[in-house]
């Protein structure tokens, strides 16, 4: 068995890395679970358009020609969507880059316009009114929504992910000695700490493979740039760029005419039989050179992005190029690399895996929540026999962490729900991206402030009821909104969430009244003494 001093050392390491990374990881996991359904969230929150229905694919060329005739700037860069829905409402869209202060186009800031054909064959266009709800949830997952540059947030989240990995290994080492004895046992009853510990261990050990994968893939997502740079110097003699290059014969035949969209479609389908095209993006440079990027899905293969694979198509032959990022192509190492991406994104095995990841992600958030609760419990000052429990003053650290845990965890849930409920209106009135951040952070800051004003016990149930209300707003929005899209999976999940939060609120309220008075979870618990006195 593992020596007692080693277990003790890892137990202390586990507490510390857990406490540093726990709250950031709660946000990352709660929002990460939701990104499993980012496409549904995007459709749910999309603005309403008055565009005519997308014309059939057969009329795509007509749509392209007429749109470019009317809007010549569209020629430079446009996309044909094979799949259309509420979030992608048009067959054709084009984008105009926004030029930043440095004179270069700003990434992700393109202005997008949609084009369709009415019954008389006239072009109807509409500027995009983008919903940023899905993007903000993704940003919260990637970097807690922090307004830092890419480098700073990568370093921050990378460090959090390293701590997370250390927490997993140390937690497992701590658990091993008692594993056989206590697994499957959740000791409900008087000893609350025991119950939290059992729940924490059960969640941790059963989702351990999931967590290990998440931790080390997240480290790669954060640190791949410095790793490549160092590998380039140490392993590849600075020649890494050459190893990436593919042998290409990109000669344009004389007098060649680019293929039509329908011809491209059939040639792509010949080369990749089960591949479903989502979109073709055309870029026409000034020298007349056309490049086409294809995105799409092959249900038989795992893909490396949450929305499928991508590659390039030769505009004159329809030949697929740069296929190593398309599902089902590439060298023998390619499936492994794609598998690593897919293991983080849950893009294998279809809907069941998405749901499994959603639940594992929420359970992960629960793991960090219970971890913090255990830390608070370990700081608890218990009344000894013959001592009046109401005389005991709790530690400052336990009190503060209890407040932070309630404020951040419940605030995140409330903030995301409020964001979703309001996102339809924000999108429809074409609100700028920053407004979405305001909504989320308003709820989060409110909950944290509330926890510090009211104390952990009272704030525990009050913020939970607030989160239940915010979550209930999602199906309520569907009922009263002018965008009648009907009840779907988002409303059902939100309703389940609402009832779960109400139930938790009721439990927390009972606890605030019935918990032992020498616990921070009792509403009349003494304010913390300053740390000197606590040290006795």
């Amino acid at each position: 068995m593992i020596r007692a001093d080693i277990v003790k050392m890892y137990k202390e390491a586990h507490s510390w890395v857990g406490i540093i990374a726990g709250l950031a990881l709660f946000i990352a996991f709660y929002c990460g679970a939701l990104t499993m359904f980012e496409a549904q969230i995007n459709s749910w929150s999309a603005a309403a358009y008055t565009l005519p229905k997308p014309p059939p694919l057969e009329r795509t060329q007509e749509l392209i020609d007429k749109t470019i005739a009317k809007n010549p700037e569209a020629k430079k860069s446009y996309t044909i969507n094979f799949k259309t829905d509420a979030y992608t409402p048009a067959r054709m869209q084009w984008n105009i880059p926004t030029i930043g202060k440095n004179g270069k186009p700003m990434r992700g800031k393109d202005k997008i316009y949609y084009a369709s054909l009415d019954d008389n064959g006239n072009v109807v266009t509409s500027p995009q009114r983008k919903s940023f709800a899905g993007k903000l949830i993704d940003d919260l997952h990637l970097k807690i929504g922090l307004p830092f540059t890419r480098y700073v947030s990568d370093f921050f989240m990378g460090t959090i992910s390293v701590l997370y990995f250390v927490a997993l290994i140390s937690g497992t080492i701590v658990l091993i000695p008692s594993l056989i004895k206590d697994l499957f046992v959740i000791r409900f009853g008087k000893n609350l700490k025991r119950m939290w510990l059992d729940a924490h261990n059960l969640m941790g050990i059963f989702s351990l493979p999931f967590h290990i994968v998440m931790a080390f893939t997240a480290v790669i997502f954060a640190f791949h740039t410095p790793i490549y740079a160092l590998q380039n110097k140490m392993l590849y003699n600075g020649n890494i760029q050459k190893l990436w290059e593919e042998i290409e014969n990109d000669q344009i035949p004389a007098n060649a005419k680019p293929l039509s969209v329908l011809e491209l479609k059939s040639r792509i389908e010949q080369q990749a039989q089960n591949f479903t095209i989502s979109s073709l993006s055309f870029k026409n440079s000034k020298d007349g050179h056309t490049t086409i990027r294809v995105t799409g899905d092959d249900p038989r293969f795992v893909t490396r992005t949450p929305t499928g694979g991508f590659g390039e198509v030769n505009p004159y032959s329809g030949q697929l190029e740069h296929t190593d990022t398309l599902p089902g192509f590439g060298t023998k190492y390619e499936p492994v690399v794609i598998g690593l991406f897919a293991s983080h994104f849950g893009t294998y095995g279809g809907l069941p895996i998405k749901w499994a990841y959603f639940i594992l992600g929420l359970a992960g958030a629960g793991l960090f929540y219970t971890g913090n609760i255990l830390w608070v419990e370990s700081k608890r000052k218990r009344a000894r026999a013959k001592q009046d429990p109401s005389e005991i003053k709790q530690t400052k650290s336990g009190f503060i962490l209890a407040q932070l845990t309630i404020g951040v965890s419940v605030g995140t849930i409330a903030g995301v729900s409020l964001l979703l409920a309001l996102s339809r209106y924000l999108a429809n009135y074409n609100a700028p991206e920053i407004y979405y951040n305001y909504v989320f952070y308003a709820a989060l800051v409110l909950c944290v402030a509330w926890a510090f004003i009211r104390g952990p016990a009272k704030a525990g149930y009050e913020t939970t009821f607030f989160a239940a209300f915010a979550t209930a707003l999602i199906p309520i929005t569907t009922l009263i909104s002018f965008l009648n899209r009907g009840f779907g999976i988002i409303e059902i999940v939100a309703l389940i969430g609402t009832f779960a939060l109400i139930y938790m609120g009721i439990k927390a309220r009972k606890r605030a009244q019935n918990a032992p008075i020498d616990s921070v979870w009792h509403e009349n618990c003494n304010q913390p003494a300053n740390s000197l006195k606590v040290a006795e």
Partner: protein, 97 residues
């Protein structure tokens, strides 16, 4: 003499020198180990974008395991010394062929 008879006990107190050694030297070690993988498997270091990626991915688990188990060094000096020796050994293995 009495300190020698006392058995060694691990403590989380001296974590900093151990973990800093693992973070820095462990990172270099992980890079070199990934290089050994790249050089001695399949067609070696070659024009294969996927293998370049996989080689990069390999760094994370190796580095993270080194950090996680660096607590098991008895002290900081030992951590820096052993990881330094491991780096030298790995570099030799990488350049030998």
């Amino acid at each position: 003499m009495s300190s020698e008879t006392k058995p060694f006990k691990y403590s989380s107190k001296n974590w900093f020198p151990k973990i800093s050694a693992a973070t820095i030297l462990g990172f270099f070690l992980a890079i070199i180990i990934s290089g050994i993988f790249a050089k001695y498997t399949g067609a070696g270091i070659s024009n294969d974008g996927a293998k370049v990626q996989l080689t990069m991915w390999l760094v994370a688990p190796v580095w993270l395991l080194i950090i996680s188990f660096a607590f098991l060094f008895k002290n900081g000096v030992q951590a820096w010394l052993y990881l330094f020796i491991a780096n030298i050994a790995a570099i030799l293995l990488f350049v030998i062929k």
